[in-house]
C-alpha cells in the first residue's frame, strides 16, 4: 500500500508547525478522510492526528456556547446545554449520518468533510473537485442530489453536513488558529461556493487549524426545528433540509433564522427570507411567502429540478414545526 507518515502532536503549536506542507492532512474522527483514502480519492503523505489536543470542551460563556473542535458529534447532540438552549443544533446533529459515525465524528471534522458526490468518489469519472480540469460528471449526468443554489459549470455538488446548516442558522463563529494567532470567521463565510475552483471547499488556509465554534446567545430555543427530507429515515443525505429558528412574541415574529442543506456547495443561509419574516405574524401564509422569497436564484440541472418545489415546501413545513403549528 501507499506509505504515509502518521504523527500525533500533543500541542497546538506542534500541529501548526507541521500542517503547512503539501500532502499533509489533519485527521480527527476520520469518518470522511479514511473513506476517501480507501477509495483512492486522496492519498496523503502525512497524517497529523490531532486527537491529543485539548479541544473537546463544551462550555457556557457569557456570550453563548463554546464548542471545541474535537467535541464528538454525539457528545454535542446529547449535551444538556445544547439540548436546552440550542435544540436546533441537537436536532441537526441527530439527523446526520448514523450513531456509529456520530460517535467518531468531531465538530471540526464535520465542517471539514468534503463537499462531494458520486463522481468525486469514482476515480475513473470526471470531477473537477477531485481532478481539476477533468470536467463535471454531474452537470449533465446523475444529479438528483445536487445543488440548486450557487453552483457553477465546474461543480454542483452539495455540502452534506446537517450540523453545519444549524450552525449557519445560529450565527456561529469559527475560531481558527494560525501561525499568527487566532482569527474569527462567521460560520456562513467558512465554506465557499465552487466558482472556478471547486477543489476548495472552504476558506481554511493550509497552515490553519479549527479550534472551536462559538454560538451566540439567542431567543430561539422555544421555536426551533430541523427538518430533513431524505430517501430513507436514517443514514441518508438530505434531498433538502431546513434549519428554522423563530423568536416569537405575542404571535409576531421578532427575528427569524433560516438555512438550508442539500441545496448548495455550502450551508445555504436564507437572509432575504429571514428579513421578510421579521415583524410578520406567525401564520402559514407568512411562511409560504418567505419560502418563495428564499428560492430566488435557484436553478435545476435536470434530475434535481424537483428541489425547486421541494425546497420551499420544506422551508414552510420547517417553519410550521418551529412555530408549533404542525
Amino acid at each position: 500500500m501507499k506509505q504515509f507518515q502518521y504523527i500525533c502532536p500533543t500541542t497546538q503549536q506542534g500541529v501548526l508547525d507541521v500542517i503547512n506542507k503539501p500532502g499533509t492532512k489533519i485527521i480527527a474522527g476520520g469518518t470522511n478522510l479514511v473513506d476517501l483514502m480507501k477509495r483512492g480519492v486522496t492519498a496523503p503523505d502525512k497524517l497529523v492526528d490531532i486527537n491529543h489536543l485539548p479541544l473537546k470542551s463544551i462550555i457556557s460563556t457569557p456570550k453563548g456556547l463554546y464548542i471545541g473542535a474535537l467535541a464528538l458529534n454525539s457528545a454535542v447532540a446529547e449535551h444538556e446545554l445544547v439540548a436546552r438552549q440550542y435544540p436546533l443544533l441537537a436536532m441537526a446533529l441527530k439527523a446526520g449520518a448514523s450513531p456509529q459515525l456520530r460517535n467518531m465524528a468531531t465538530v471540526g471534522g464535520n465542517m471539514m468533510q468534503r463537499t462531494r458526490c458520486g463522481y468525486f468518489y469514482d476515480t475513473t469519472m470526471p470531477c473537477n473537485k477531485r481532478a481539476p480540469g477533468s470536467g463535471c460528471g454531474a452537470y449533465e449526468g446523475v444529479n438528483r442530489m445536487h445543488a440548486i443554489f450557487g453552483g457553477s459549470s465546474q461543480c454542483i455538488a452539495v455540502h452534506p453536513s446537517d450540523m453545519c446548516v444549524a450552525l449557519a442558522a445560529l450565527n456561529a463563529v469559527v475560531i481558527i488558529a494560525g501561525k499568527k494567532g487566532e482569527r474569527r470567521l462567521p460560520f456562513t463565510d467558512f465554506h465557499r461556493l465552487p466558482g472556478e475552483h471547486p477543489e476548495m471547499d472552504n476558506h481554511l488556509a493550509a497552515n490553519e487549524l479549527i479550534v472551536g465554534v462559538e454560538i451566540p446567545n439567542n431567543h430561539f430555543a422555544a421555536n426551533s426545528y430541523y427538518l430533513k427530507v431524505r430517501d430513507r429515515q436514517s443514514y441518508a443525505f438530505a434531498l433538502v433540509s431546513v434549519a428554522a429558528a423563530l423568536d416569537i412574541e405575542n404571535g409576531i415574529i421578532r427575528h427569524a433564522r433560516l438555512a438550508m442543506g442539500g441545496v448548495a456547495h455550502k450551508p445555504w443561509r436564507l437572509f432575504d427570507a429571514e428579513q421578510a419574516l421579521a415583524g410578520k405574524p406567525v401564520s402559514e401564509d407568512s411562511f409560504k411567502q418567505a419560502a418563495q422569497l428564499a428560492m430566488q436564484g435557484a436553478k435545476g440541472y435536470g434530475q434535481n429540478a424537483f428541489k425547486l418545489k421541494l425546497a420551499p415546501a420544506t422551508i414552510a413545513e420547517a417553519l410550521k414545526h418551529a412555530a408549533g403549528l404542525a
Binding site: 500500500m1 501507499k2 483512492g40 458520486g118 463522481y119 468518489y121 469514482d122 475513473t124 469519472m125 460528471g137 449526468g141 446523475v142 438528483r144 427538518l227 427530507v229 431524505r230 430517501d231 430513507r232 429515515q233 436514517s234 443514514y235 441518508a236 443525505f237 434531498l239 424537483f306 418545489k309 421541494l310 415546501a313 420544506t314 414552510a316 413545513e317 404542525a326
Partner: protein, 716 residues
C-alpha cells in the same frame, strides 16, 4: 395421494429459536472468507473502467514489482479454462457465462480484467491500483429504455395466450399503464468470497459463498474438466444471498485460475462496489398492463408485456408475466416477455424474482381498476378469485388466499380505509391503506438425507444443502424431532458441503418442501429399523440409545432419497401471500412513512413458527426497500453505477421499518409433501411493493408507477 397431516406444532410466533442463532450472534459461525488455509494468498480484482470494447494494452509491471505481489493475472498470461474452450455437451451455466480472462473483449463496466495476488490483502489491493489498462472503446448500450426496440423473446416467441387477444380493450372499465422496476441489487451483508485450494492438478477444495454446493461443484468440474468427486465445495454458513449466490460467477473462476497458477491457495473477497456489477441484480424491467372488467368487477381481459435486462453474453430469464396468467380467474389473458441485451453483468434471480416485478405491475393496475370501478380492492380480488388454476384448469393442491385476505384486513384495520384518496388525515399527515398479493410456484425436488442415530441418543442429519439464513437447519431439526419423538436438542444438522448427500440449490422457496420431505422419510425409515430390532411396532416412544445398547450397536443409519410424487401432475401447486400496508405521508415533502404492515402467508403447514415469522418480516422489509428506496443508479454515458456503496444505495434501515405483523393461514397442503409445508421466502416479498404504492395512492391520490417511491415522486 392425499395425506392426513397432524397439526400439533405451535402456530404462534413462539417456537424454537434458530439452532445456529447463538453461533451467528457470537461470531462463532464461520463464513467462507474466514477460513485460514496453510500458505494462503490474497486476490484483488481489477475491473474494467470502460463498458464495451477491447483491451489494447495492460501494464502490470508496477504491480508485479510492488511489495508482496506474487502474480498479476490477465487475459495475456492466464491459463486457458478448459470449459471455456469447447461448447459441446456443456450445461448452459458453463457454456454461456462470462469467459473471464479468456480474451481481450470488454462487455460490461467492472468486468474483471486482472487479478493481483499478494501475500496480504492490503498488498494485493495496492497492487491492483497499479495495473494500468488501455482500451479501445466501442459504443455501449446500457439503457433498457433506449434499446427497447431491440427486445427479443428468450425462448420461442415469448408469447402466451388464453382466450381472446387483448380482450381488455373492449371492456367497459379498463386501465392501461406502464410500470418500471429499476435495477435492484441483492447486496447481502456478507460479501461474496471464495478460497480456492488445488489439492492436485485435478483436485480442488473451495470455501465459497454459494446457495448450492452441488451446483457449484458440478460447474467447477465442467469448467476445469476434472471429475466431479475431485471437487469439494464447502459453504457452511452463508450471510444472506437473496439469489446472488445461485450460480457460479466470474470471481470464482478467477480464484480457481489464480490458485492453479500461483500453486497456492487464493482467497478472493469482492468489494462492495464489485457486488453491484459482478454477482447479478434484479433486472431493470419495463412493463405495460392493460386490464379490463365489467361494471360488477369481473375481469374480462389482461394483457401484460415485460421487457427485462440481460447481458450481451447470456440470456437471463425470469417470470414477470406469470402472475397475470395465474393470480386471477380471467378468461382472456395474453402476455409477452422479451429481453434486451445490454452491456451489463448478467442479472440473476433476486428474492421473489420476476414474480415480484410482475406483481408490482399487476397489483398496481388492479388497484387502479378498483378506483375506476369504485369497488373495494379486497372485494375486487374476491370477485375474481381463482378456485382452480386459470392456466391449466387443474385444481389447486391447496389455496386459502381468501382467508388470508380476511386475516390481513383485520390486522391492518382495513375498515378504517377511505375509498376516496387523500381524505384520511392524522396529525397533519395523510393516511392510506394498500393491498398487494403474491403467488409463487410451490416447488419440490429430489433430496437425500443421511440420518444416523448413535448410542448417545444423538441423531445426526446430513445433507449438502446450503442454509443462507431462512432457518433451514431449524426446520429440519423440528421435522425430525416430530417424527422421531425426541427433543430437538438431541438432533444435529450438518449441511453445506458437497461431500454430503445430494440436495438441491437453496432457491425458489423449495428447500423445506424438498429436503424436509427427505428428513421426514429418513426418520420414518430409521424408526422402522429400530422397530425391527425391538420387534415392536407400537407407536410408543422408543428409547433409541437404550435399544442400541441392548443390541450392542454403535449406531443405526439410513440414507433416504425423496422425490416429488405424481401429485404434481394432478394439481397446481402455489404459495400465496397478501400484504397490507398503512402509510403516513407528508403531502408537502412527499415523505412516506410506513406505519404498519400486516403480511399473511398461505404457505401450508408452518413447521418452524419463529423462523417462518422471521422470513415474512424479512420479505416485508425487502419489499419496503424495493418500494421506497432501492435503485442502482447508472450513468449511461459511462455505463457505471453511481451509488455503488451502502451509503448511497439505500436499503431499508430500522427507522424505516414499523411493526410488521406476520400471520399464517397455517393450513397444510395435503398433496405437496408429507409435512404439508410450502415455500415462503419469495411470497414474503412478492406483492409488497404494490401494497406500498397502493397505500401511497390511497393516502395522496398520487399513483407512482416507477419504483422506488421517493419523496420527489410523491410531493404535492
Amino acid at each position: 395421494m392425499k395425506k392426513e397431516i397432524n397439526l400439533n406444532m405451535p402456530s404462534s410466533s413462539e417456537g424454537m429459536s434458530r439452532i445456529d442463532g447463538r453461533l451467528k450472534v457470537t461470531g462463532a459461525a464461520k463464513y467462507s472468507a474466514e477460513y485460514t488455509v496453510e500458505g494462503l494468498t490474497y486476490g484483488v480484482l481489477v475491473g474494467s473502467t470502460i463498458t464495451k470494447g477491447t483491451i489494447t494494452a495492460i501494464d502490470t509491471k508496477a504491480a508485479e514489482r510492488a511489495p508482496g505481489v506474487i502474480a498479476v493475472i490477465t487475459h495475456v498470461n492466464a491459463i486457458k479454462v478448459p470449459g471455456f474452450q469447447s461448447e459441446a455437451g456443456k450445461p448452459s451455466a458453463v457454456r454461456a457465462q462470462l469467459k473471464v480472462f479468456d480474451d481481450n473483449k470488454i462487455v460490461y463496466n467492472g468486468q474483471p480484467v486482472a487479478v493481483v495476488i499478494a501475500n496480504t490483502y492490503e498488498r494485493a489491493l495496492y497492487g491492483a491500483s497499479l495495473v494500468k489498462t488501455q482500451y479501445s472503446k466501442e459504443q455501449h448500450e446500457t439503457s433498457l429504455n433506449a434499446s427497447i426496440g431491440k427486445g427479443f423473446p428468450p425462448h420461442g416467441d415469448g408469447l402466451y395466450k388464453r382466450g381472446i387477444q387483448d380482450a381488455w380493450k373492449s371492456a367497459p372499465y379498463k386501465v392501461e399503464q406502464e410500470y418500471i422496476v429499476p435495477t435492484d441489487t441483492h447486496n447481502p451483508m456478507e460479501l461474496h468470497a471464495i478460497i480456492a485450494k488445488w489439492e492436485a492438478d485435478d483436485k480442488v477444495t473451495v470455501w465459497d459463498k454459494t446457495q448450492g454446493v452441488k451446483a457449484t461443484q458440478h460447474d467447477i468440474a465442467q469448467l476445469f474438466n476434472i471429475p466431479v468427486d475431485n471437487v469439494q465445495v464447502n459453504s457452511k454458513f452463508v450471510g444472506g444471498a437473496f439469489g446472488s449466490a445461485l450460480r457460479t460467477w466470474p470471481h470464482e473462476v478467477v480464484a480457481l485460475i489464480a490458485a492453479k497458477m500461483v500453486k497456492r491457495p487464493v482467497k478472493l473477497v469482492l468489494s462492495r462496489a464489485d457486488m453491484f456489477t459482478s454477482v447479478g441484480h434484479r433486472p431493470y424491467t419495463w412493463q405495460k398492463i392493460g386490464i379490463g372488467a365489467t361494471a360488477d368487477g369481473k375481469l374480462t381481459g389482461i394483457t401484460h408485456e415485460a421487457y427485462g435486462q440481460t447481458s450481451t453474453f447470456e440470456n437471463f430469464t425470469e417470470g414477470p408475466v406469470g402472475v397475470s396468467q395465474g393470480l386471477y380467474a380471467c378468461p382472456n389473458v395474453n402476455t409477452k416477455y422479451n429481453l434486451v441485451a445490454l452491456n451489463i453483468g448478467t442479472p440473476t434471480w433476486m428474492r421473489g424474482p420476476g414474480e415480484a416485478t410482475g406483481a408490482f405491475a399487476l397489483e398496481s393496475a388492479l388497484d387502479e381498476l378498483s378506483y375506476l370501478l369504485k369497488i373495494d380492492p379486497i372485494e375486487l380480488r374476491l370477485r375474481n378469485y381463482a378456485e382452480t388454476d386459470p392456466e391449466s384448469g387443474k385444481p389447486f393442491s391447496s389455496k386459502f388466499l381468501n382467508e388470508a385476505y380476511q386475516m390481513g384486513a383485520d390486522h391492518i384495520g382495513w375498515a378504517e380505509r377511505k375509498p376516496e384518496p387523500g381524505t384520511l388525515k392524522k396529525d397533519g399527515l395523510l393516511v392510506g391503506y394498500g393491498i398487494g398479493c403474491g403467488m409463487f410456484g410451490a416447488y419440490r425436488s429430489g433430496a437425500t438425507i443421511k440420518a444416523k442415530m448413535t448410542a448417545d441418543g444423538i441423531l445426526l442429519l446430513q445433507t449438502a444443502v446450503s442454509d443462507i439464513g431462512p432457518g433451514t437447519g431449524t426446520a429440519m431439526v423440528l421435522i425430525a424431532a416430530e417424527q422421531m419423538g425426541i427433543p430437538a436438542g438431541n438432533i444435529r444438522f450438518e449441511n453445506g458441503a458437497s461431500d454430503l448427500p445430494q440436495a438441491p440449490t437453496q432457491g425458489g422457496s423449495a428447500t423445506t418442501a424438498s429436503v424436509g420431505s427427505a428428513v421426514h422419510y429418513a426418520c420414518i425409515e430409521l424408526k422402522e429399523k429400530f422397530q425391527k430390532l425391538t420387534g415392536n411396532d407400537s407407536p410408543k416412544a422408543i428409547d433409541y440409545a437404550q435399544v442400541l445398547k441392548q443390541h450392542n450397536l454403535p449406531l443405526l443409519e439410513v440414507t433416504t432419497k425423496s422425490t416429488a410424487g405424481d401429485d404434481r401432475d394432478k394439481y397446481a401447486m402455489n404459495s400465496w401471500s397478501v400484504h397490507f400496508v398503512k402509510v403516513l405521508v407528508n403531502a408537502a415533502t412527499g415523505v412516506v412513512k410506513i406505519d404498519k404492515v400486516a403480511s399473511v402467508a398461505d404457505s401450508g403447514h408452518i413447521i418452524s413458527p419463529k423462523t417462518a415469522r422471521s422470513q415474512v418480516v424479512g420479505g416485508a422489509i425487502g419489499g419496503i426497500g424495493m418500494a421506497l428506496m432501492e435503485e442502482a443508479v447508472m450513468d449511461h454515458r459511462y455505463g457505471r453505477y453511481i451509488n455503488n456503496n451502502f451509503a448511497d444505495y439505500h436499503v431499508a434501515v430500522n427507522a424505516d421499518i414499523p411493526q410488521i405483523d406476520a400471520q399464517f393461514v397455517n393450513k397444510p397442503d395435503p398433496y405437496i409433501n408429507p409435512m404439508g409445508a410450502k415455500g415462503m421466502a419469495e411470497i414474503a416479498l412478492i406483492g409488497m411493493a404494490a401494497a406500498v404504492a397502493n397505500a401511497v395512492y390511497n393516502a395522496t391520490g398520487k399513483r407512482v408507477r416507477e419504483l422506488p417511491i421517493t419523496p420527489d415522486k410523491v410531493m404535492a
